[in-house]
Symmetry: C2
Subunit: 376 residues, 2 copies
């Protein structure tokens, strides 16, 4: 069968969402490893840490004190990558021809938020049952809805609970993400994510939208709708499934245990989700993160990002979008050995050592209802 | 001036070589860091390590013994990512429509080489004067020339010195690269690089060729020729310069101290270089790597890759190419604090914290003729 051939030969797979290829070398997983080892994250953190700038009641780096929040808590990042107020910069339209062509720049304004997932310092999404994840999804949803144009049917007044003033300017895109674990550049274990909102559509989101739009023009159907249905029919790469969401190792996964969580209905943005779908998403996030922790019996590092339609775009772009999450975890073989995407990957093409089918099989066979870590 | 404005505001810069944008947040460099710290590499290694599988005379992992090589030594990677012999795989052309569209794969064959730069276990490119780097450039050149089609004016019979049999099949592309340091996934400090040769043109190379080709069609001149001349005229981002090569922090650099080394003449492949140009390249590599080591007084980790025309391509593709090297080093602030390209970068867009002009200024002011490390 195809599966047997591809399990044993070097091959390239196509990612239709990015329009790019990756190199798969299944036999290379046997390579011995003598390189750098990661430090697994501490497993015995206190529920409250008086020196943590995210714990309830504590002071923050740039001044101010966190409220005694019971569920989630949102604030503007003290070291935002984009700012709301700055001098305008528009590339001059005339001048030296080569500078105009080769030294292009454009100003970007925006607002960066931090979202604390829970008042407890020592829990991660993997430690939470679905009920504890629902408030996080609701916070993401309200944050997103309050940044939509007032003319959108999904616009919501910023609720007092969020304690944030929505910018006066209409921004174009909001990227919600989480960096978990020191290996993923996270410097505070307190469970939290971020949302960066900008006047531009960032590269990755733009690329996906472009490809989804072209697919829809050509085939009349949605790329990710077709894809999630196909994967559910095959059940070779699906890791977790409920009535509303599927988690799977995509055919074109780059990182060893990369997964995508795809909404089964063609929904564009978080505010479109029904209450049942919100619970379905919470359930899938809870299962996937628990399986991750169980894989190498460690608090599994990853970056997670939510891709949805832009806040503000033309209708064809918006219509082509399909709500999904990417989980990209760096670990390859154990709690301490990660996959390095370096020389060849940076200069030539992403390369992976095990097939997505092999990764999916391992994840599928792990418990998703409980974390073994520290219990074995 | 423009420079002053861009030093202080969030902005995007355009990379014409990739056709993509990056986010620059100069003010963010002030952010405190409490996250993961790298382990700087050992500074006192022996000149010969009996357990190193790259030192002269030692046995290798998959059998065989290294010769007592005096300069460089090339062998086929014992854990190659691509193989010369494997069953063919071609995606079936008929079948379920959605599988054909969304689950695309194609077989890739090829050959992976390891290139030892020097018999001494404890030197890096930064420790070598230009004269010691010339043999490495000659080895890369011979390796490349021996994989060209026999009809190419630059084809060379594989010299006995290389001790390798060239594959019977004509491959399409050769990516020469080096991963240096544990932080860049390198598991053996013995100075070495790799060359992966494949039946396909990898993504990054393909993207650059496409953009250089379109530029040439549109403007009649070479993108990188125009760019290197422009940078030499401005001298704002140039780090090192001689008659034949320029090293600079590109306008669109992603990594904090990323540099490009560009040939000043419009040369497509290493075998086109004159003897003087080979020495010029060796000199620039020696200077750049010494400046890197001096920046944080550590053996500076990086991935380096050489981009040249494909081994085998249509003439327009080949004509559009311009020999250059990318150095992508992960460190941001010190020997132990690197930049993490994680959540936002993976999900949305690469983001950097200092401007390329600031990085170039720091590198320019460092000595490039001697490594201070351990001497201060
Ligand atoms: O081949 P090596 O040096 O063992 O491996 C290193 O470089 C390769 C090519 O960039 C990467 O695929 C590996 O992840 C990395 O660890
Ligand atoms: O904002 P943080 O969590 O301090 O920083 C982390 O996430 C950012 C967004 O992915 C990255 O740009 C930083 O390199 C990383 O350390």
């Amino acid at each position: 069968s195809d599966r047997e051939v591809l399990d044993d030969i070097s091959h390239r797979r196509y990612n239709p969402l990015r329009g790019s290829w990756i190199l798969v070398s299944p036999h290379r997983a046997k390579r011995p490893w003598q390189g750098q080892e990661e430090t697994p994250s501490e497993t015995s953190l206190p529920a409250f840490d008086s020196s943590c700038y995210l714990c309830p009641g504590n002071p923050r780096a740039a001044g101010g004190t966190n409220p005694a929040y019971p569920e989630t808590f949102v604030f503007v990042n003290d070291y935002s990558a984009v700012k709301e107020d700055q001098p305008d910069y528009v590339q001059p339209k005339s001048g030296e021809k080569l500078s105009l062509l080769l030294l292009q720049a454009t100003g970007v304004r925006g607002k960066c938020y931090v979202i604390c997932f829970n008042p407890s310092h020592n829990v991660t999404l993997a430690d939470m049952p679905a009920e504890m994840i629902v408030p996080i999804i609701k916070t993401w949803t309200v944050l997103y809805a309050s940044h939509l144009p007032k003319s959108s049917p999904y616009y919501q007044e910023p609720v007092a609970e969020l304690r944030i003033t929505v910018p006066k300017d209409q921004y174009t895109y909001m990227q919600i993400f989480e960096n978990k674990g020191a290996a993923m550049g996270c410097s505070n274990p307190h469970p939290h994510g971020q949302a960066w909102t900008t006047t531009c559509i960032p590269e990755e989101a733009g690329l996906e939208i472009q490809n989804m739009k072209e697919y829809k023009r050509k085939h009349g159907t949605g790329l990710l709708k077709d894809y999630v249905d196909l994967e559910i029919a095959k059940m070779e790469r699906v890791v977790a499934l409920n009535d509303h969401f599927a988690a799977l190792c995509p055919w074109w996964a780059v990182w060893p245990f990369e997964t995508m969580v795809i909404c089964r209905r063609e929904v564009r943005i978080l505010p479109e989700l029904t209450k049942e779908e919100q619970v379905g998403l919470a359930e899938i996030i809870s299962i996937v993160t628990k399986k991750y922790d169980n894989l190498f019996e460690t608090s599994f590092p990853y970056s997670m990002g939510i891709h949805q339609a832009p806040l503000d775009s033309d209708p064809e772009d918006r219509e082509a979008c399909h709500l999904h999450l990417h989980f990209v975890p760096p670990l390859l073989r154990s709690a301490t050995v990660k996959k390095f995407l370096v020389g060849y990957e940076l200069m030539a093409e992403p390369q992976r050592d095990i097939t997505p089918e092999q990764a999916a099989e391992r994840l599928r066979n792990l418990r998703g209802d409980e974390v073994y870590r520290g219990k074995l």
